[in-house]
Subunit: 341 residues, 2 copies
């Protein structure tokens, strides 16, 4: 039997457990996975490109569990009432090769992406970070706010989106948080005075949303939206001003803000494992060039499997009475030897 976690099951689980707690637990689970970096069999994702978007497979494994995420990216989907990104996850037992979990991963990906941002902030943002700027108040914005709020004493959120409706949605969703919400008229205004700048927009293009003029010493930049070839959000002149942290260099060189550049980077596991500090000085500008790595999905699926045990089991793998006799399993019950249904 394979455990099936559908959208309503995940919704109930997260709502009951509390989003902040879920984000904190995911950040811890992802940190524990990065600490075991060398134990994972890693590869860049497998992408198939189509006229309207991309479909990707993100496999990764340690000696105990194999995880694979199916995820698409279709920028035109919202015009048809669909999400840009939808995802499914498979988790399996390495010893038998049998799948043990099939799960919705659209919502789980949103949670693990914010948890990863927060985890990197845990190691790289200044301890006194209290002002967060959000560039883009789309699907990630509330999760980012709560996840980073778990790690640093946030007091003020300065936010900007090209779409006023997205800003209203964000303000409404965050209205019960104990945070000073400052809607801004421009990126410049939002970034002004911010300790941590989180950039997550949907535009599929090379953008220069953040420029060197907006940088200030000690800032941490969380760049979430530059995550596929041809899509970046930061002016390229920003990169040499920053200590750049990436998840998995071979993948980020293809997909991230550093695509096509030769800037030196630090893989995040080096920081988690104490091989170098997250922040070299109080005045350093740190940049997390986030693209999303399969390791985070592995950690999230394992976390989900361990904690969400009250789900439906489905019969997706035959329980063969004789593994060499698949034929009998496809016979009508009355035919020949006993079939298995």
């Amino acid at each position: 039997m394979v455990r099936l976690i559908d959208v309503p099951t995940l919704q109930r689980f997260v709502a009951q457990r509390g989003i902040e707690r879920v984000l904190a637990e995911l950040a811890d689970a992802i940190e524990a996975a990065y600490a075991r970096w060398d134990e994972f069999d890693k590869s860049p994702r497998h992408a198939t490109h189509f006229e309207h978007g991309v479909i990707e497979l993100m496999p990764v494994a340690d000696a105990r569990r194999y995880a694979c995420k199916y995820v698409n990216g279709h920028p035109g989907n919202p015009q048809h009432g669909r999400m840009t990104v939808a995802a499914l996850g498979i988790l399996s037992d390495v010893e038998s090769g049998y799948p043990i979990l099939v799960s919705e991963m659209t919502l789980l990906t949103a949670l693990r992406t914010a948890a990863t941002s927060a985890l990197v902030a845990r190691h790289c943002a200044r301890q006194d970070t209290s002002t967060l700027a959000l560039i883009g108040t789309g699907a990630q914005s509330e999760f980012q706010t709560l996840a980073i709020g778990n790690e640093r004493p946030l007091r003020q959120i300065r936010f900007y989106d090209v779409d006023p409706a997205a800003m209203e949605k964000y303000a409404l969703n965050m209205s019960e948080q104990n945070l000073e919400l400052v809607p801004c008229d421009s990126i410049e205004q939002a970034v002004s005075g911010a300790d941590l700048v989180s950039v997550a927009t949907a535009i599929k293009d090379r953008q220069s949303l953040l420029t060197t003029a907006m940088l200030r010493p000690g800032m941490h930049i969380n760049a979430v939206g530059g995550d596929c070839p041809g899509k970046t959000e930061l002016d390229s002149a920003v990169l040499p001003e920053c200590d750049i942290i990436v998840e998995y260099e071979p993948q980020t060189r293809i997909e991230g803000e550093i695509q096509g550049s030769d800037h030196q980077v630090t893989e995040f596991h080096e920081i988690v494992r104490g091989r170098r500090p997250g922040r070299l000085s109080e005045d350093s500008i740190t940049l997390f060039d986030s693209v999303g790595f399969a390791l985070e999905d592995h950690a999230a699926l394992n976390w989900l499997y361990e904690h969400l045990t009250r789900a439906t089991d489905v019969d997706l793998i035959p329980d063969a009475h004789d593994p060499r006799d698949l034929f009998a399993m496809l016979q009508p019950p009355t035919y020949g030897r006993a079939a298995s249904f």
Copy 2:
């Protein structure tokens, strides 16, 4: 919603439709896919190797549908009452990137493998093929018999397995077929007089089950079991005696009987598309070096999706009222704006 086809649902469907009909329909569906060879985005499978086995992803797509099979290969599984190979399939809509089907694929893979063998026999075996030799009477043997029986006027089956229990299982499962069943004491005896030799054993090693002394003019060899690096079934001296047909050369060079060799091969789609004959002369010896290609899974999943419509729908993809507002979907119903559960 995503359609979910579990094992009992597939079992009922195949039993009701009839295995022979299913095999024939699958052979036709796979042939139609090979005829559209250039329309597919193809890549070798993604394999992750472990101490006890391998886990593979097999993605392939045309402009309409994307298919991905998750499949393991764990030779020690039968010792623990598990199957060597278990599989899951995902089929999705290319235009939206949304999955439309999650299906059991263990049984479906057994069916499509035999259907592919039969399809190649349709094009390559002599029309007067009436004697089939089976080397190995494991999980594939009954499917191979019925599938090839759809294509050629089989009268006699000569079969051999190192395990007498496997031979008894085969004889019992085939007892109601109108076929002369000839159990044999050796490979030599089984192959003697056979028009078509189907080899499908499980031994993970380089074997020489079939040697040049056993070949005879006009024979068609269906080599199913040599399907991963380090696993072959034919004596290497057999290869230069045969016209070798493969599914997808880059993959077969890694996994098939031709691994590590430079023998010239024909990709099967060339035959389906009429660019060369399946059989050059009545006396040619043809060899199908079968490893299993993602295209066949694409065809099988599409066939299943079109015909098995009475299945359960599961809620694996959020039905976002606002694609930018995933946050609201994870709130308790009483909190803030209306959540979607």
